[in-house]
Amino acid sequence: MKSVIAEHLVKTYRNGEVKALNDLSLDVEEGTVLGVLGPNGAGKTTTVRILATLLKPDSGSATVAGIDVIKHPDKVREQIGLSGQYAAVDETLTGWDNLVMFGRLYHLGRQSSIDRANDLLERFDLTEAARRPIKTYSGGMRRRLDLAASLIVKPKILFLDEPTTGLDPRGRQDMWQVIQELVKGGVTLLLTTQYLEEADQLADEIAVIDRGTVIARGTSDTLKKQVGGERLEITVEPADLDKTNQIVAKISGHATHVDLRTVSAPVLHGSKDLMEALRAMDDAKIHPLDIGLKRPSLDDVFLSLTGHVAEETVQEPVAKGKRGSKR
């Protein structure tokens, strides 16, 4: 069953001047994670805002948990959690204040709201900071609290808009761990990111979007295959470079690429070719410093799909209601 379906979404800003979404369609299978990957301005946030009932598309349709987001936004809101760069918490209040307030707004009773707030604070390792204003939190703590606020009623479907943008590597690792635990709990997740590595880590399936439309989708593996197969890559001492080059060229049958100490070339049979290379190297009495099969990174995927590197394409307009600076 599909938990999220978006069909032919179109959204323009400034009276049609800026096309944020241009016939975007995607869906998320129940209990899985879809990573929506794209550069700034590709339409990620606009997509999430439409699915989370914050924005109406110009045309197209979408359902979340089987409910039409345009016709019954109230019912959709009961099913979802939203956290992201634009859905925030009250910075003057403490973490505890915020969670209790959101609990009350979800119509949990007073005591249940307090219990739930305490649970979530503990789960996200924020108990110590619970009584401090959010203003004093680090970026990572703030994101964790923001995520906690979206989990108050244990939503089955969660939208995370760039959950780690602006975090340091440590904060990002922590956030990934938190998200992975959530996913184990069976939540359906739609996650946007501009980090290729993040989509690779967290998502079952990836939809690559560029200029308001999905240009490719599939698992991380299929996307990588789409770009090209594996490459055999051997690093040796410079003295052994020529001989190694001959070996690789013979196995590959394609043109090799030679760096200072590394030879690489596309291969068709993966590990079989790798074994053959190892035997040939052994016969020639060359000790490789490093040898392995390299698959293309998602950066390569993006480059080959879009013809340009993953960078800001069109500036996403500051639409009415879509405000704030990147943190």
Binding site: R49, A88, E91, L93, T94, K322, R323
Partner: protein, 264 residues
Amino acid sequence: MKDAIHDAMIITKRQILQLARVPELLVFSTIQPVMFVLLFRYVFGGSIDTGQPGGYVQLLMPGIFVQTVAFTLASTAVGLAEDMKKGLIDRFRSLPISRGAVIIGRTFGDALLNILVLAVMAAAGFAVGWRPTSGILQTTLAFLFLFMFGYALSWIGILVGLSVKEARTVQSVGFLVTFPLTFLSNAFAPTTGMPRALQYFAEWNPVSTMVAACRQLFGLENEFGATANSWPSQNPLETSLLYMVILMAIFIPLSIRKYNNYSN
């Protein structure tokens, strides 16, 4: 409906909590009106001969009360614009809460703050010689008028806050609107000295009718107000009430509509 009130109360409570967490907010909201009371009382009070028993401060206090509640417009707008900018309103809008609860809650919160500010100002006024002479009932009614006026204006603030993108812009716009409105009135000086066109404006200015209404309710003769025998200056209570009803009838539905559609 019950849910709507429940949700609005939670939002109101949030504003009270903010005051508790950041007490400076409270100090800054009360310090300016108190400063105005003292400045006007001692700077102008000595040189304006009112012919009233009790002197200028009797006439000044209603003026300053009205001016202060009029600034609710700007503070509501700024608060809302900041919440929008920070993404808090988006979070609220993604929750299954009643339509309008978020902005209704904010107007309640700002109204509560007004009660507090009015109380502090009344105390300051009392300290510098202000004495209402009309008895407890009429005096209370005057404060009720002030409270309602502030509440009606905060709905304009809601619409402004939802329409402008930058909180700082809101601050300037709010100032640009409320400042001339409070000075082109009978609040601080008689309108008789103004050019004729401005006198007409001042007579019909809701700030003037409110000030006149309060003066009447605090037990003063209405001689300091508009001198012409115009209907608003003769019937300040009725005119003020009419203004408040009109303002709310226009701005409450407009604001709620804007809130529900603001991102389209």
